[in-house]
Symmetry: C2
Subunit: 131 residues, 2 copies
DNA sequence: TTATCAGCTAACCTTTAGGTAACTACTAAT
DNA sequence: ATTAGTAGTTACCTAAAGGTTAGCTGATAA
């Protein structure tokens, strides 16, 4: 049985857990899906034009790129700049807010790399055991 | 026009960008989706039983929890322990590999929290301007 | 004896993400 | 005149994720 104190500690622990889950959900909602981080990574690399992004974010279609760019703009990660003149050029630029994602992108990159290594060594281990 | 040197630098930059995108894709594939990180967070908090997880991971259905647990087991994040005896109790436990996600979960938690704050202040700013 | 809890599974359905193809408007080059 | 490139949009379709409902087994509680 819990003392009151333990119940209190337990409740605070549970609350913190709920707050962490809510925060991670929020993050997944804003940057989850197959393409948003890819686009931001490609833009950080200097790609600003629609067709450049289409080439560098391999596999994305025009329709999906167009809708993802709109969502990224709505969420304050990028801005669409239409240079009137001749010819009309359209550039997408990262806004400072996209820099707040650096830590997330960095940790996911490191984890993804080590995960791929782990899977590779799991596979060679399982093949070695088939002797 | 590029000198050979600039072309080389450019190519390496592009290659690094491709590697980052591949790593982030791998990470999203393994831990993306609505539930996997939530389940790991709840388990890190001490929840080991199916019904505990169902209660603490709010909104998840039995079908989805069951299939996510299978995927997490296949990917080496958790292990299912069936204690034969009376009554048969089933416990899911985090494996050491799940600890490798701490950095990712931490950065996503911090980002998600600040993002929620940002959205809240964006809303109050837009309401203040409707004067 | 009926009901309830744990730990699922199966069948079915809806929603959302994403893919494909065609088409537009404009310009530039051949 | 035709072709190609830029920057998309529209309509349609598929596949995957996820939700709903029901039911199963085996135990315990009322």
């Amino acid at each position: 049985m819990d003392t009151n104190e333990q119940t209190q500690v337990n409740k605070e622990f549970t609350d913190e857990c709920v707050r962490i889950m809510a925060a991670v959900s929020d993050a997944l909602y804003a940057i989850g899906g197959k393409w948003k981080l890819m686009i931001i990574i490609a833009m950080a690399r200097g790609n600003t034009r629609f067709s450049e992004l289409q080439r560098h974010v391999t596999g994305i279609s025009a329709r999906v790129l167009s809708s993802e760019l709109k969502e990224l703009e709505m969420n304050g990660f990028i801005i669409k700049k239409v240079a009137v003149g001749y010819p009309v050029t359209i550039e997408y630029e990262l806004l400072p807010y996209s820099r707040t994602l650096e830590e997330v992108v960095g940790s996911m990159t490191r984890w993804g790399m080590q995960h791929r290594e782990k899977i590779k060594s799991d596979i060679s281990a399982s093949q070695a055991s088939k002797s």
